[in-house]
């Protein structure tokens, strides 16, 4: 199952075009990292992936399905998208019920098992009976990730999944990403956190106001400081220090 944006444009108001002529692809075993300044339309792009929003021009294809012609409930079997604000999606009275909702709703086999597995992967198994709003915001964020994992959708799209996570939780998230890759699931991640995600990305999409600034191999962008700056991005400090010292490859501080 591949996701393909073909010359997609979108706007909330005609006076304020947001995404213009956007093309990219994502598929199994791939990790697409989407970056760009605040307000360029990154979260909007994710809502176009699963048909919550439909393009004003161009096409979004999920396999053979044009998202404009299919119900979101059908598209949700193939791609699961999390929201930036967990409050926009959490509704169940316990963590376990929240995580089990997606596989149940999508009529997957053994929803309870899928939920248990996802909670364990996200380090939430110890809080399964708690009310989601009794959890700290960081764990609530992980809860949205766990719900997506449990959906068993082959493509997963996360909006700022590492925001507010502490060291321990970030390590957990990294392990989770590795395990999802082993399952050949395709990942699309919107984040400002280059230090965490850049090393995992197989493709990078850099958005700027109304344009695609870059789409391609992450390594190329890392070597092009000028484009990075244009996108309002900065490499993680250890990477910049390594570069200033001219010792790239000698020691990676980002690990």
């Amino acid at each position: 199952m591949r996701l393909e944006f073909q010359n997609v444009s979108f706007e909330y108001e005609s006076s304020r075009p947001l995404l213009r002529n956007l093309s990219f692809q994502a598929g199994p075993s791939e990790f697409l990292l989407i970056v760009g300044q605040n307000g360029v339309g990154k979260s909007t792009l994710l809502k176009l992936c699963n048909g919550i929003l439909k393009p004003a021009a161009g096409r979004v294809l999920l396999g053979q399905m044009n998202t404009a012609e299919h119900r979101t409930s059908l598209l949700a079997r193939e791609i699961c998208v999390t929201f930036q604000n967990p409050a926009d999606q959490i509704f169940a009275p316990t963590v376990a019920q929240e995580v089990e909702f997606a596989p149940q709703n999508l009529k997957r086999a053994n929803p309870a098992g899928l939920a248990m597995q996802a909670m364990a992967l996200c380090g939430l198994d110890t809080v399964a009976t708690r009310h989601p709003y009794d959890l700290p915001p960081a764990q609530r964020k992980l809860l949205t990730v766990a719900s997506a994992v449990a959906s068993a959708a082959p493509l997963l799209a996360f909006d700022e999944p590492s925001a507010g996570l502490s060291q321990l939780e970030q390590k957990g998230l990294e392990k989770l990403l590795a395990s999802l890759r082993l399952e050949n699931r395709g990942l699309i991640v919107v984040s400002h956190d280059l230090s965490l995600f850049l090393r995992y990305a197989t493709k990078l999409l850099v958005l700027r106001q109304n344009e695609t600034l870059y789409y391609g191999e992450p390594q190329w962008l890392v070597a092009n400081e000028r484009v990075l700056r244009k996108a309002g991005l900065r490499l993680p400090i250890p990477d910049r220090v390594s570069r200033m010292l001219g010792r790239q490859g000698n020691r990676s501080y980002a690990e």
Binding site: G39, L165, S166, L233, L245
Partner: protein, 277 residues
């Protein structure tokens, strides 16, 4: 005018929990300094900030508190019982909650703060414009506050508190949704506030606090594991493996120091620039 903050033997426990959220915390924060509060999830960062702002007691009337807090000339036995705004301004971790949603434009939303304070006057427009400019969000001034992206909302949330010019500014994870440019602007604002406003900002990662704060308070299970200037962290000999990114920074600092000792001027310059020398 900035206020000094003295926290003495402060302990806080939520009734439903056996372990304290803040445990025998004693720290003195000089007036006008910028303090970074770091530590793992559950360390007590948010609880401490909420406590200092006065909203903790409002949200948790049954919290068990002991110790003393002094903010400027005002002393509190236990914790403040009332919200201390506008003397103390708190920017919440969840930026979407900070927006009132009762005003139609970003400009009016920020102006709403001054109206609430009873401080709206002839210079209100200028104050709002100035804060919009310093955060780089003039282009959002006529947008509907509830239609903004996460990062835009976080900046507007900041603006609604900055416009009040509090003596103490409390920022709970203020950069989670900010891009690099917006982080740079916030860094400039905080640098400009030094000496005038006492700032406490929490973050689960060390990078931003290290780049702007005069002091770093490391919290672990509600206790102060360290309260040091950034440059003192490498020599403290403590294990900070549970603080986001700090161990990596200390390794970097050690390597740079070694190179600097061997005569590398670039390494010495970087050390200084990174606030680690």
């Amino acid at each position: 005018m900035a206020a000094r903050i003295d926290i003495s033997a402060l302990s806080l426990r939520f009734p439903e929990s056996a372990a304290p959220a803040v445990d025998s915390l004693t720290v003195s924060i000089p007036a006008g300094t910028c303090v970074g509060i770091v530590g793992p999830t559950g360390a007590g960062k948010t609880t401490l900030l909420h406590c200092l702002s006065g909203i903790l007691r409002k949200h948790h009337p049954d919290i068990v508190a002991s110790g003393n807090i002094r903010i400027g000339t005002e002393s509190f036995a236990g914790i403040p019982e009332d919200i201390l705004f506008p003397r103390v301004g708190l920017v919440l971790q969840d930026q979407f909650v900070q927006i009132s949603g009762v005003r139609d434009t970003v400009f009016e939303e920020i102006l709403f703060t001054l109206e609430n304070m009873g401080a709206a006057g002839a210079d209100s427009d200028r104050r709002v414009r100035s804060v919009l400019q310093s955060l780089g969000i003039e282009h959002l001034r006529d947008r509907k506050p509830t239609s903004l992206s996460g990062g835009e909302t976080q900046r507007v949330a900041l603006a609604t508190i900055l416009v009040a010019q509090p003596e103490v500014l409390l920022l709970d994870e203020p950069i989670t949704a900010l891009d690099a440019t917006a982080q740079g602007r916030l860094r400039s604002i905080l640098t400009g506030l030094k000496g005038q406003t006492t700032v406490l900002l929490s973050d689960s990662q060390i990078d931003f606090p290290l780049s702007v704060c005069d002091l770093i308070l490391v919290l672990d299970h509600g206790r102060a594991a360290a309260f040091l200037a950034p440059g003192e962290l490498p020599a403290s000999g403590q294990n900070f493996s549970n603080v986001g990114g700090l161990d990596r920074w200390l390794q970097l600092s050690e390597d740079l120091r070694e190179l600097s000792d061997k005569g590398s001027r670039v390494a010495a310059r970087i050390l200084k620039g990174l606030n680690l020398s």
